[in-house]
Symmetry: C2
Subunit: 214 residues, 2 copies
């Protein structure tokens, strides 16, 4: 007996099977178009076809769900950065190669911010998700989180004698600050709505500044 027949794709079984993952995916979709504020628990359960309180079997509260979405978003960011790195030609000069890798990390970051503004904002919404940023659920395919990818690029820069070793400590914070700030401007600051070409140009100039100033 399938009710009156006009019910939504009702589950055949009483149990859902993989509700946690389903909610996480629904939440991620909400974050994708709408940012962190758009990931609302009731809407996620609605999309999955489950009653609101069912979510509490898998997430302590709405914040826990948001935290999970946030980790997933960071992971997606890491993947985007890795993709940018993978597109690099294996160059001869190790100094140039190291420089190119740092630039790739930055442009990957900026490209993701512009391509997926909702997810990007969500990635940095939860308070303590940058602090304990080493969790594997926040990593890309290489197992490194966005922050760790940046740190690795800076290490290579030192290895290639481009960045003086004494300037290395804390350099990730300087580089990250600059790129993250620009991302904000591009997403909903005065630089919003810039076409990709101009945005990429701004990114190039910014990374130039970082490279010179680091």
């Amino acid at each position: 007996m399938t009710d009156t027949g006009i019910s939504p794709p009702k589950r055949a079984t009483y149990r859902h099977g993989d509700l946690r993952r389903a909610l996480l995916e629904a939440g991620t979709e909400l974050a994708r178009d709408g940012g962190p504020d758009a990931v609302v628990l009731r809407e996620a359960t609605r999309r999955v076809g489950v009653v609101p309180s069912a979510a509490y079997r898998h997430f302590a509260d709405r914040d826990a769900l948001l935290g999970a979405v946030c980790s997933a978003a960071q992971s997606a960011l890491a993947v985007a950065m890795e993709a940018e790195l993978a597109g690099l030609a294996r160059e001869g000069d190790p100094a140039d190669a190291a420089r190119a890798r740092l630039r790739a990390v930055g442009t990957g970051y900026l490209r993701f911010a512009q391509a997926e503004p909702g997810l990007f904002q969500t990635a940095f919404s939860a308070s303590d998700n940058l602090r304990s940023a080493a969790s594997p659920i926040r990593a890309g395919d290489s197992g490194l989180t966005p922050f760790q990818l940046l740190a690795a690029a800076l290490d290579e820069l030192v290895e290639a004698d481009v960045l003086p070793r004494e300037r290395r400590p804390g350099a990730e914070f300087l580089a990250w600050s600059a790129v993250h700030g620009l991302a904000m401007l591009l997403i909903d600051g005065p630089l919003r709505g810039l076409d990709h070409a101009r945005a990429q140009d701004a990114g190039r100039r910014l990374i130039d500044m970082v490279e010179r100033g680091l």
Copy 2:
């Protein structure tokens, strides 16, 4: 007849007199400790001692109230930056003076972000408040908004022949990106909880980078 006598500081008169300002101030207080999400319309009316719907005589909706608070926060930021500028010694060398003024703009920004994180976050919460940032309600005592203060400092840098004129266009976006990004890290990123001394140190290093790299 003052009711049963156990009513809160009930207004003597039916009219409030300056409800708009009162709501704005209550909202600002909410933003100060709690950020943009904490400015909730009902709580603001409660604090002012007025029924919720009364707010709609002065603000179209909750977003309008938040927008007003956001403008006020930007104005406060501008005042903080002006204070930093005012503390500068009138130096002899115009080049050094221009450099010092740019640094003051940056450190004022960072100092405010750390001293008033809630207001700072609120200042940059409303989507289109950086775009049309020229409104006088967002300005400090000098009549300049935070962005305009930065632009002025950069102009002086060109005037003093420190920054090549061809690099001036768009330079405010580069400088702003770096400082704003660091502010984010300090407020709720991995650099959160840094004591003032260390934070100031990070700020100095970052501004060094900007100065070198601009």
